[in-house]
């Protein structure tokens, strides 16, 4: 698409790249703090680690305004339907980070009460290991997600009538 002859001072790019760039630079998170990991998620947003550097300091309470759900903590059988409902309310395109061992696999609590991995409920793009993951781990996960979105590695088909 980029022409061979372009006027000086003008950058040409594909629309997709431009859109992806915009998406990654202001990826707003939905508040979905559940347990210990939520504290570390808040720590990531606070002064020391400052998620604002990545355009992500805004955590939206309303899922309608959020692009990214960080599932921070253990998901119980009772919470799983709520989680799915919040996910369904988010508008496309949307991404999910599963933060911590419990959200990713059930962690050390392999028992009757917990959903063994949040990917049984919602599609997960990034798994962040740790119990709980430190702010650096979470930031690494977020930046990895940004890279993937920029590369076009993660594509979300827009299905009309869903989400």
């Amino acid at each position: 698409m980029a022409g061979e002859v372009s006027p000086p001072g003008v950058l040409l790019t594909t629309l997709e790249k431009g859109v992806n760039w915009a998406r990654t630079r202001s990826m707003w998170g939905a508040v979905f703090g559940l347990a210990c990991c939520a504290i570390e998620m808040m720590a990531t947003g606070a002064a020391h680690n400052d998620l604002g550097r990545f355009g992500m300091e805004v955590f939206r309470a309303s899922p309608r305004q959020a692009d990214l759900m960080i599932v921070a903590g253990r998901v119980s059988q009772k919470m799983a339907p709520v989680l799915r409902q919040v996910y369904d309310q988010m508008s496309e395109p949307k991404w999910v980070i599963s933060m911590g061992a419990c959200a990713s696999t059930g962690g050390m609590f392999n028992n009757y009460a917990l959903v063994q991995g949040v990917d049984q409920v919602v599609p997960v793009d990034i798994y962040v290991p740790g119990c709980p993951p430190g702010p650096q781990s979470l930031m690494h996960g977020i930046l990895t997600l940004h890279e993937k979105v920029m590369d076009g590695e993660i594509r979300r088909p827009v299905i009309h009538g869903v989400g």
Partner: protein, 478 residues
Amino acid sequence: MSDKDTTEEQQDAAVAVEETPAVDAPMERGEAGRRRLHEMWVAGTEERADVRHFTDEGAQELLGDEGPDVLAIQRGTVVEDDYEFDDSVDAEERQIINMGPQHPSTHGVLRLQIELEGETVRRVKPIIGYLHTGMEKTGETLTWLQGPTNVTRMDYLSPFHNELAFSLAVEKLLGVDIPERGQVIRILMTELNRVSSHLLWIATQGMDIGAISMMIYGWRERELVLDFFEKVTGLRMNHNYIRPGGVAADLPDGWEDDIEMLLRKVPEGVAEYREILDENPIFLDRTYGVGVITPAECRAYGVTGPAARASGIDFDLRKAFPYSGIDKYEFEVPLGKHGDVLDRYHVRIAEIDQSLGIVRQILETMPAGDYRTADRKVTPPPRKRIDESMEALIHHFKIFTSGFQVPAGEAWQSVESPRGELGVYVVSAGGARPWRVHVRGPSFAHVQALPVAMTDSLIADAVATLASLDPVLGDVDR
């Protein structure tokens, strides 16, 4: 609150903590304005019969309005509002709003069903269990030495207290004595944990009532404490550091410098918070006379810790049932006298000072010696011995795979966590794993008491009240 004539009372509020405690002091603040009055406390009666059943409405949802208990709630309190409240209003004119489980201000996944009449909360129903992790069941499948790994994840803002209570309970059954240095390290870590937890509380309380900058400030100092935790235990949270038999490792070299830095910087930060909040009219208006819990209600509903002390109950487990030699240190138990959100703030601020005072005394008097018991039953052999001796290697392997046996019996141990009485009840059948682990989390009782504090207050105060009790949902649901 009217702005002018309450200046004196505001100053009174600011110094409330320093004053001598008066349990039966009349509640002046309620008279100041539209805030809720507590008929019972004002009358000075602490009769048990007057403690009403606030928490009886419905299963996981509010029931119909016609039950006698429900009517008792409406009759039971005097409402002093700006507008006239008409008792004959139909139930249809009330609305039920649902707060949570996914809500930014509920400190986790608490769900509240609130029945409103205009702006006034008439009924509240806490619905919990959204974070039920089955930890008590998992605890029965882990060995005694693995137990702290489990309990430390319950109240994730005060992990050391969970570990300490569990370890002390197990040691009670074992009959093991911990060397002095091990005990002092335990006290050091738990008191620092109290500081970090209260700092987080100030941050979130500030955020919940609109002081967003407090959020950033509180985290700033908390990170300093967490850095020290990371240095000592390897983790910022969920440390699994205090174990049956002592602690996992000795303090690192140069820990004194870190503590000195903390003792210098945290009080500076706290002074800054007080500058922001103490005389801030918005903060005072949002907290003053809000969310009152009377001493009788604290007793009846099991409200403990700073929330009970803010109501004037002079009780601290560190004084009443000293553990790990905490009675060697001098500290005071700060008290409030009105039992509102503002007093809880003052009590917690004062507790930070007291805890830092204990840490300062520890810094000066840290004894030398071993950090864990020499009892080979619970303590693995030192690293050097493992290189030399096959038996030591096998011993080490056995302790960490099959675990050690604990004599049959039952034991209760509670410690004063930043939120209140944290009790652990363990039952051993004589095996390598507990028969039953039950943890009495202070937050569970606090969530239960939420309707007491919220009923007949304004909906805008609901979040301030909730935050002031500092419930940690991991502790509630376990």
